[in-house]
Symmetry: C2
Subunit: 329 residues, 2 copies
């Protein structure tokens, strides 16, 4: 299989992508990795290029702060758009990018193309949970507004992903809501609830409150992109704030420094639980090909994890499986 | 001034309410506190009743899990509804309840009554921030869906509250959103942004991301009730989860127990920062009278804090001030 990596995407690009590709290439000899980006910057980083890594030159870069739709339309030779085109034209089986999220979504829609029967593709990252299993949450920002029928499609796509990629036989699907009772919520979630009860082949367990998400009581969490963003960002923000406060408090005196030193392995393990880089990339579900988004701050290890994920999804026929369920073809 | 307390509302009722009232009565001799509820349960708790505490009998109780509108309509002699009627009829200047939130909101709307010119009253709790100042967030669940003009009214009411009750000269108003740039968001926040820029007399500072709320970069945070609930619950959930994990990790061995013991004061102080009970009650803004909601798990101290808050709001003419700004009267 062949995986295109947008080598210029991400805060630590291109180094993180080169490092991740080299590491993945060494582990999985059956996988061809194509680093898409500026040759002049990539080749010096690739002194000893393994046989399953190649470079595809792309002269432009979409920056993190660019307006997505305009950037994708104008920068036809950007590393992201070239990688997207490779997927559309069958030159690559999947693409990975840690660049501008909005632009990647737009690349998915305009370059790779929507899957037939899907109205809104969804971004589906794993949110870490206390049991270390994690929950696949979608949509986490591909579309800010959603209709009830979109949430039903998210539920189906998320279920198939958890089943095919993570091997969960009967993924539990929850609806992010303000209370656990069926009648709770805003107009969207109240209307989505009965639809979710009737999606064939999924195991809908009802509403899930934001405070319970971390306990891992479902495998797939369905929400509109706006609510999902609020959930994920407040989780990240709270965890980050608590750890920085702990650090500050623990360096107050010799006594607290000593106490903290004794707890260091435990504190590190706890911080690891809340670390997004450990959880690999997020698939964009509902496209005609496989697109995986890495975290903007991805390092080489995160890029390698995204490759691992893409490999599993390809081996499990993820995209054709979703297509079959959605269109019945 | 005279403040009615729904003595039967809250997980720890009626004890927490009696304890809070007694403590408030001792501190503020100028304040009359009326405990509204079942005499047979209240009087035994009030062996030495101070002269500024009285009991108003109410024979019914609205339970935590009752359907709000039906409960308020049917239980006309419930402690919550009786307290609301006292406010409407001028027998009390304010009411405090730690009971069923939905029922309290309904009591506000149907019994106390909306302020002229306000379409949607809003629940406005303080969210704790790292600088210990806190941010007033509204709406936090009174109405799940909101229109852009409702967010503009929330901004104005929140600003007046922070100014009158907390003495902030020029409260910074932020809009909860998925990015800081003006064009970001869902349909609601995109439309609300230009309205907020044009609300006279408020200091609108733009969009605020969920992950930045804890840093205290604004004094008033405006959002619809659904998004606000997701924000608050994920903040509570994450903080709670991290503290329980810390506890678990820190009791793993003798070494970690010792380390944790050395850090106990610092850990306690950190937990205190994230504790809702410390932050008193949440006003329901946009009603014809003052209604303060206590946290369901309020103890006596939380009820006393809610009394403190109600006193300040009454002394500062909060409700007439909002009415003047909204209707120009």
């Amino acid at each position: 299989m062949r995986i295109a990596i947008d080598a210029m995407g991400g805060d630590n690009a291109p180094e993180c992508n080169v490092e991740g590709a080299l590491s993945a290439a060494a582990e999985w000899q059956d996988t061809q990795l194509v680093l898409v980006g500026d040759e002049a910057r990539l080749l010096p980083l690739l002194k000893n290029m393994p046989s399953n890594v190649t470079v595809r030159h792309a002269g432009e870069v979409i920056e993190a702060d660019e307006e997505p739709v305009r950037a994708v339309r104008r920068k036809k030779d950007s590393s992201m758009v070239v990688a997207g085109r490779m997927v559309r034209e069958g030159e690559a089986d999947a693409m990975i990018s840690s660049g501008n999220t909005g632009a990647l979504m737009t690349t998915g829609l305009l370059i790779v193309g929507r899957m037939e029967g899907i109205e809104r593709p969804a971004l589906a990252p794993m949110i870490p949970t206390l049991d270390d299993v994690g929950v696949l949450a979608l949509d986490l920002g591909a579309n800010m507004d959603a209709k009830p029928q979109h949430l039903a499609q998210y539920a189906l796509m998320g279920s198939i992903y958890r089943n095919k990629v993570h091997g969960i036989a009967k993924p539990r699907v929850g609806l992010l809501n303000v209370g656990t009772e069926p009648g709770k919520g805003n107009e969207l979630t109240k209307e989505a609830y009965p639809l979710l009860e009737n999606v064939p082949g999924i195991h809908f367990i009802g509403n899930v409150e934001a405070r319970d998400v971390l306990t891992g009581n479902c495998d797939v969490l369905v929400c509109d992109g706006f609510a999902g963003n609020i959930l994920l960002k407040s989780l990240e923000g709270t965890a980050g704030a608590i750890f920085s406060l702990l650090k500050e408090q623990f360096s107050k005196s010799l006594k607290t420094k000593l106490g903290a030193a004794m707890l260091m392995p435990e504190l590190r393990s706890l911080k690891g639980k809340m670390d997004y880089k450990e959880h690999g990339g997020a698939p964009l579900l509902g496209l005609g090909g496989l697109v995986v988004k890495g975290h903007g701050s991805s390092d080489g290890n995160a890029v390698k994890n995204a490759v691992r994920q893409a490999r599993i999804a390809l081996q499990a026929d993820l995209v054709p499986s979703i297509s079959k369920e959605i269109s019945g073809k």
